[in-house]
């Protein structure tokens, strides 16, 4: 197996993955996204060897371009570019989930300040505003009333780039200061955590506290459906974030395609990097058999 690890930074997650690969004697070619130079007109790589690309790139834009190029050269990419594209854009994720009847918070897209105010009036306050691209709870706002929304919109539309012209508004879910993150590898839910925080944003990147959560049949089912909805499947490595709505049950909030798991190994007792490497090897072997 030929393995490429695409990255931006070697963080704890990448180090754990590289350690696991090293333990198994699997050499990985490290490609930093900023240093990649790809001849897009180069002929197909005809080496008779499964080539797997593990995407750990932080930049959604660069990852999408590089993963797509590797796919066109015949590499098995984890995640596939269609998954990266969908998961990297909250609007596309919401549409994918809705198309597949996966429960998700009510969400409205608007394309002007007037449209956003109209949408928020329909959703009710407080309303949540999120950038379509981004992570770790950055630039996510809980807006208590129209005054707050107008202020944010003025800044967003004056200071942001063209991408901020797509305004993504979501109903505020009473999530009782906790949410769930589940890890889905190859379409199987292998582990889950609950994230607690007194702040309404519960990301562990923002100080949320994690504890293990047994994977129930209900959780596994909705996570599998969410994984399939975003185009995942046998080659997907995903983290599904969910809210527990008192009336509607589990709602999928978002699906992450380059999951962080450093806080979820001890808390779940599941060796997540080992399971990821297991899956890389399985996919490469399956590819070799097919070839």
């Amino acid at each position: 197996m030929r393995l490429t690890l695409l990255h931006t930074r070697i963080r704890t997650e990448e180090r754990l993955l590289l350690d696991e690969l090293e333990r198994r004697g699997i050499a990985a070619e490290l490609v930093h996204a900023d240093e990649a130079v790809l001849d897009l007109t180069e002929s197909f790589d005809a080496r008779n060897e499964p080539h797997v690309l593990l995407d750990r790139c932080l930049s959604h834009t660069k990852a999408l371009a590089i993963v797509r190029a590797f796919e066109s050269r015949g590499a098995i990419c984890m995640n596939p570019s269609k998954v990266t594209r969908t998961c990297g854009d909250k609007l596309l994720t919401t549409l994918a989930l809705t198309d597949a009847d996966v429960p998700t918070p009510r969400t409205v897209a608007a394309f002007s300040a007037d449209g956003a105010i109209q949408a928020a009036d329909e959703l009710g306050y407080p309303v949540v505003i999120k950038p379509c691209t981004g992570s770790w709870g950055r630039m996510v706002g809980r807006l208590s009333d129209r005054d707050a929304l107008e202020a944010v919109l003025e800044h967003k539309l004056a200071l942001g780039g063209p991408q901020h012209g797509v305004i993504y508004l979501q109903e505020m879910i009473n999530k009782r200061e906790r949410d769930i993150r589940a890890f889905v590898v190859g379409g199987r839910t292998i582990a889950a955590i609950v994230r607690h925080s007194e702040h309404w944003i519960t990301n562990t990147a923002r100080g949320g506290r994690a504890e293990g959560l047994p994977v129930s049949a209900e959780l596994d089912d909705i996570c599998r459906r969410a994984s399939n909805a975003v185009g995942g499947g046998e080659h997907s490595l995903l983290a599904v974030d969910l809210f527990e709505d008192p009336d509607r049950g589990l709602l999928v909030c978002e699906v992450n395609s380059t999951m962080e798991f450093r806080n979820s190994i001890e808390t779940t007792g599941v060796d997540i990097p080992a399971r990821i490497v297991d899956h890389l090897v399985e996919a490469a072997n399956a590819s070799a058999v097919v070839a």
Partner: protein
């Protein structure tokens, strides 16, 4: 600056923080592009080379970065 102590079984690897000048000791050989935090000033640093070990301030998070 990197340093490998000879004549012992323990390899010592150190580098200088570009922010505060403090010494950072690595328990194991770092990889290029690895992220470390200076224990003295708390700066987030990126390993820019491994032989010798050099550090630079880690790049700022960009708008489309995420997981």
């Amino acid at each position: 600056m990197s340093q490998i102590a000879t004549g012992t079984t323990t390899e010592t690897l150190t580098a200088t923080c570009p922010e505060c000048g403090g010494t950072i000791t690595f328990a194991r050989a770092p990889r290029r592009h690895e992220i470390v935090r200076c224990p003295d000033c708390g700066a987030e640093l990126e390993v820019t080379s491994v032989s010798p070990i050099t550090l630079a301030l880690a790049p700022e998070v960009e708008e489309d970065w995420g997981e």
